[in-house]
């Protein structure tokens, strides 16, 4: 089990590294191929980084406000508080702020830029439908996100998606404005033209690939959080049974949206089972691995 946690962490790191390299390559290719000067690149990097860092700093407040979470009363929700405290003792984390969301759909998420500023929120539906050990499994999964700095990883991914998309956008505008002149100047420049073709292809494909890599990282972090959760509770059946209940449940979180989908323990949008030829392709666009796969992975421990 410990080996799997280590292996998963390594794979996740490789994925993030691959993403950084990819982003750098796209930037270089576009800069050279299409002659969008280093100013354009600098603007894109600054804009994307600034936006993402601002969001990162305020991630907890934004996430809690958009999902209409309220602080969990320590007496009314004594069990939830106790479970969080117990798991924090087990993992050596400071106790995060605890919130509840009035929603019949069972779900939960964690947010905050580091363990000292972390918050976890669970829906009232989760509290009603899960028994003590199941709830403990879910809380452990969320605390694992905190412990593994998943908000930081997600922010990094968002920055890179942002840079690639912005660059693509800027280049289109730049070329549309100055297109005619450049065409006349460079009509017969051989290698330049080839690079330009590569650049244009990257412009179209880049943002999509960047988004897909972001999603791959998100899925990897989810399975890592499942494993870390079991490392915390030392009791896989709790989380397995919780995931099975989520699988059997058909209520959808009202305040869940595409923007916050990656944070929840279960994708709040993926409720219809996917079948047919498109299923495999659609899975590339999911923030979470399918529940069956997550359950199967935990059963193997």
């Amino acid at each position: 089990m410990y080996d799997q946690v280590v292996q998963n962490k390594r794979r996740s790191a490789v994925l993030v590294l691959a993403f950084v390299v990819f982003t750098a390559l796209v930037l270089i290719a576009i800069a050279y191929g299409l002659g969008l000067g280093s100013w354009g690149i600098a603007i894109a990097v600054v804009l994307a980084t600034g936006g993402a860092l601002a969001a990162y700093w305020k991630s907890d407040a934004i996430a809690l406000a958009t999902s209409r979470a309220r602080p969990a009363d320590p007496i009314e929700f004594a069990r939830l508080h106790n479970l969080v405290e117990g798991l924090c003792i087990a993992s050596g984390l400071p106790k995060p702020r605890v919130y509840v969301i009035d929603d019949p759909a069972p779900n939960a998420f964690a947010t905050g830029r580091n363990p000292a500023h972390a918050a976890i929120a669970v829906t009232t539906g989760l509290l009603q439908k899960m028994n003590r050990v199941e709830l403990e499994g879910v809380v452990a999964h969320e605390l694992s996100h905190v412990k593994n700095y998943d908000t930081l990883v997600a922010t990094l991914a968002v920055i890179m998606v942002g840079v690639v998309t912005l660059i693509a956008d800027l280049t289109w505008r730049f070329h549309w404005l100055s297109g005619h002149r450049r065409d006349n100047d460079n009509r017969n420049a051989g290698p330049g033209a080839l690079l330009a073709v590569v650049g244009i292809v990257l412009l179209i494909v880049g943002p999509i690939v960047a988004r897909l890599m972001h999603l791959a990282i998100s899925r990897r972090r989810e399975s890592l959080a499942d494993l870390s959760a079991v490392e915390m509770t030392r009791y896989p059946p709790g989380l397995i049974s919780a995931l099975e209940k989520l699988q059997g449940d058909n209520t959808v979180v009202r305040s869940g949206s595409r923007a916050t989908a990656h944070m929840w323990i279960e994708d709040p949008l993926a409720k219809e089972p996917e079948e047919g030829n498109w299923a495999r392709l659609n899975r590339l666009f999911n923030t979470h691995p399918p529940l069956e796969e997550r359950i199967a992975a935990l059963r193997e421990l």
Binding site: N82, L83, G86, I89, G92, R132
Partner: protein, 184 residues
């Protein structure tokens, strides 16, 4: 000569830096063990504090179940007056068993089970039981990491020099390893 001197200087600085980081790392691991040990005590004390309230509440509904109640009180006294870790551990195990019997007994008293104070105490005691187990788990994890660190090269050199000793694990016997069986 200048270059050799420079390389030597860089090497010395590197070694000193490494030693500082290593030493701080060892101290951090050691402090974590102390904190983990203190956490076990905190949770045990909390359990001792909760028991008199529980006994009072149960007395109001099932006062004639004297044997079970006394077993809880005796176990608590024994754990609190214990001298030495082995005796204390034995006392704590007795508490766990006596509490298990008390909660099992409460099943037969619907009024008691419906009492809000009792429900709260049951939740608190169950949670404290969990926290004791988690505190032990964290203590053992910390000892594992610390022992691994002082046995690994290169920190082993340093640890030996400064007299960092391997720590012992907290061994729970079979009875106290599992949580108390409480029905909800």
């Amino acid at each position: 000569m200048g270059i050799v001197l420079l390389i030597l200087l860089v090497l010395i600085v590197a070694v000193v830096l490494w030693a500082v980081f290593n030493y701080n790392g060892l101290i951090r691991f050691k402090n974590r063990i102390e904190a983990a040990w203190a956490q076990i005590d905190v949770q045990l004390k909390r359990r001792h504090d909760l028991i008199p309230n529980l006994v009072e509440t149960v007395k109001g509904y099932a006062g004639h179940e004297r044997d079970t109640l006394e077993a809880v009180i005796n176990a608590r006294n024994r754990a609190m007056t214990a001298s030495g870790p082995a005796e204390a551990a034995a006392g704590e195990n007795m508490i766990s068993q006596a509490l298990g019997r008390l909660f099992a007994l409460s099943e037969a008293y619907p009024d008691l089970k419906a009492n809000q104070g009792f429900q709260q105490l049951q939740e608190e005691l169950t949670a404290t039981e969990d926290k004791i187990a988690y505190a032990r788990q964290f203590y053992n994890d910390s000892v594992f990491k610390y022992n691994a660190k002082i046995q690994q090269f290169p920190s082993v050199i340093f640890a030996n020099m400064l007299g960092f000793k391997a720590r012992e694990y907290f061994e729970a016997d079979d009875e106290s390893r599992g949580p108390v069986q409480v029905k909800f």
